[in-house]
Symmetry: C3
Subunit: 346 residues, 3 copies
């Protein structure tokens, strides 16, 4: 595919600075781009590469200018570049077909407009909506429902009765609906509490590879509309995640905790069970959250604290050995003063 810079600027609604006739043949990252490529800058860290990039043009934010480069200025270069990626490298949509090498229980209702690959297992009373794509090795348990245009990548497992909405993307190896981890008398008898609930995943959610979301003890574990979850995340039984949340890789959320709308959790965060994180909270990577957090807070640390305080604490932490030396010095000086005064008294 080839486009002129003019066509590109028009497509993303940007302001073109430079040669409108230059031909763009591909998109690349700023350090890999060659002549003929378009690149972009959405993160200030990469501004340093602007002078030396070999790209034929760069999509940038409005405040960036560089006389000797072809630029397209837009308010939001990351989103604009995302649209260009879809334009230049369109995803091939799978054609509807039902592989005869899939196993589909006679009582399952699979839309003839769905795609089912070889090696898929679909159990009794499952429903699969139109436009859904079920890749090889996926297993869908009894009575589960898969919405329209939803994509289950290879080897995803959906346990019985779980409900997956429309336009959901679940990446390879994710497991939805395994038993929650509930045992009475832990460490002594480990009596299993049956996990009779389900997982409900609403429309437009994306779930990363090898992530696990456990079924509820009763009721549902619930991931609401538009939330995006990265790889290797653990979500415990009866957790509720609000709408449009972002959960980065390797986060763990313990049972019955509730996240509000628009919450952002950095990588490797851990959250205890039975708490509430309010709407719009941002939790820095690696934080350990141990009790309720009101809406709109930015927190960090393990145990967690307000982000700004955490900056001061970790700054102080690295100077700790110096401060201890200061305390020892102070002690010595004070002892001398006391001794001096003691001598005077005599």
């Amino acid at each position: 595919m080839e486009k002129t810079l003019k066509e590109i600027a028009d497509f993303i609604g940007g302001r073109l600075l430079g040669d409108p006739h230059v031909v763009i043949k591909g998109l690349k990252g700023i350090t890999e781009a060659e002549p003929g490529d378009l690149t972009f800058i959405a993160n200030r860290r990469y501004l340093k590469y602007l002078a030396s990039t070999r790209a034929s043009a760069v999509v940038v934010s409005p405040e960036i200018e560089q006389a000797n480069l072809n630029l397209v200025q837009v308010d939001d270069p990351y989103t604009a570049f995302g649209r260009l990626i879809s334009w230049f490298y369109p995803m091939e949509k799978e054609k509807p077909f039902i592989s005869p090498q899939a196993y589909i229980d006679p009582s399952a209702m699979v839309s003839p407009e769905a795609t089912v690959f070889p090696g898929v297992f679909i159990d009794a009373e499952v429903e699969v909506g139109r436009g859904a794509v079920i890749y090889a090795g996926v297993s869908i348990g009894k009575g589960a429902k898969i919405g329209e245009d939803t994509i289950l990548h290879p080897n995803v497992v959906i346990y019985p009765q779980c409900i997956i909405g429309n336009r959901v993307i679940i990446h390879a190896g994710a497991v939805i609906g395994a038993d929650g981890f509930g045992f009475a008398h832990p460490g002594r008898e480990n009596i299993k509490i049956p996990q009779a609930g389900i997982v409900q995943i609403d429309d437009d959610v994306e779930i990363g590879a090898n992530t696990t979301i456990d079924r509820a003890t009763l009721g549902r574990t619930w991931i609401k509309r538009g939330t995006k979850i990265d790889n290797l995340v653990q979500i415990g039984h009866n957790v509720t995640v609000g709408e449009r949340a972002i959960i980065v890789s390797q986060v763990g959320i313990s049972g019955s905790t509730r996240l509000g709308n628009g919450v952002i959790l950095g990588g490797q965060v851990g959250i205890v069970g039975h708490i509430e994180i309010g709407d719009g909270c941002i939790v820095a990577a690696r934080s350990a959250v141990h009790n309720d957090v009101p809406a709109g807070q930015i927190i960090a640390g393990a145990p967690h604290m307000p982000y700004k305080k955490w900056l001061r604490v970790t700054g102080a932490l690295s100077r700790l050995p110096d401060w201890m030396k200061k305390i020892t010095d102070l002690t010595n000086r004070l002892t001398q003063v006391e001794k001096f005064l003691e001598d005077r008294k005599k």
Copy 2:
């Protein structure tokens, strides 16, 4: 299913306070329960919902009373409610059948009373006991043994020669017996040390979704009877986990470490290799354990320390900036005193 509160109280051996004739049609969590539902309180955090619950009755511990509610008092509400879940929502047992769409090596010995789903792969000399259920997409390597009434959920992988006991439950995507991570001259030559041992999992163990337990270099990685392991846990080669342990999600245990009986590890704990954690130890979530821990200890922190000390240290940590200000103040005051005395000397 419908039961009177009297029938329920009798079933769990509880003391009924209220109307014995009220009819219970389902079980729910305390905030979701509707009229006709029974709910329970096993965690003090939920006491606050007792006044407002719409449930028709509540299973509680003996010290809880609430005049206007139908209550069933039992010593252990969590276990009692678990029994009620099994009663109200019995798990359908899979009927024995061997799918013709499974691949079973002719030399494998699969009990005719086992259940083998489509898309299962069973290699040479494997044994599968009576009552075992092998779900779709499971792969069992050469010579592995699967005990009686053991359940392997979809896409579980058992590597060759591993031994799985009776009544074991392994959730979807778990990998048992992949090579331990052993390389000589790490970072330079990375010479692979062959991993010729196995994994042995004893009776009544449960293993979570996408958890990985590596085979031993020589001998066995060993999970003993009654231990329960959550999702996304990593257990290294030659580790031994004692009986009735509880290992919460995302824990990592490095090679050759030994855990005693009844050990409880909170979520995201990391344990170095080649150490011993004694019987009955409790390790708080997110701790990093770097050397031997005697039996019965409660520890926390990274690096770990006794739990009570950790409470003091983390308390102190959050006040660190204030203390540093105090040190600066002290230094200023002491300098003034010294100066005053110096002036006097003259």
Copy 3:
């Protein structure tokens, strides 16, 4: 298999102290070894077992002597013992065969000298090299390339277009090439940025069970030659890992970060995106790395700092409550001194 100690010493080029005629029938760890077994010591922690081992002989480093034991001294006992494991317990190589129960797209080019198990899915235009072994349940997406003698264990997923080199080992359940986690306006609109790049894995890499390596937004996520990655590791989009790196279990590396050659990351390390870790860096387990690290550094802590400093800081940390008591004492003493001087002034 039986070998005399003389044959064993000759095989690993070691110096024999003791009876050359003793017959060795198996290899074991030092605490499990019985008469007839050979064992080894490669880690000082196990020296304490030398006096009590029941093994018939021990492979040790040159400085170790024990008069009453048969020893074989070598410079590098771990590597030597690894060679002995391969000798005593040779891995059976799978014979080339293509299962008729695998699905192979007609346009795929699978070497007749490869092995393809039942239940494998190979999509259009895939290439599989000679000697490759593709176990049950593996899914290989459109246009992906699998090199010679590469082993994909059961249920591995290779997404479309990814390139896997020669002699690569990928353990069960690993997912190569799922979408990178890129969303514009996170927490508000979560606009998906298409992930149009690939993953490239070079020769002689090993990847652990259930590890996930995301495809690039554009270009490639790149794991270079000889690198070894443990289980449950997350590697984000556009990351580059240099040659011969060692990445221990449960590490997370965020997008666009670059690791040099020979880097060693301990377990559960987290690394933010868009940074560079220089050649030969060693990062202690559980560290959180938040900005560039020059070559050759040894770092630890969260946030990271030089390893030696971290030792001092964590040492200081555990004494924090004591130091705070000291500050309170100092304050009291100084107040008394000030009061004394104030009284004098009057």
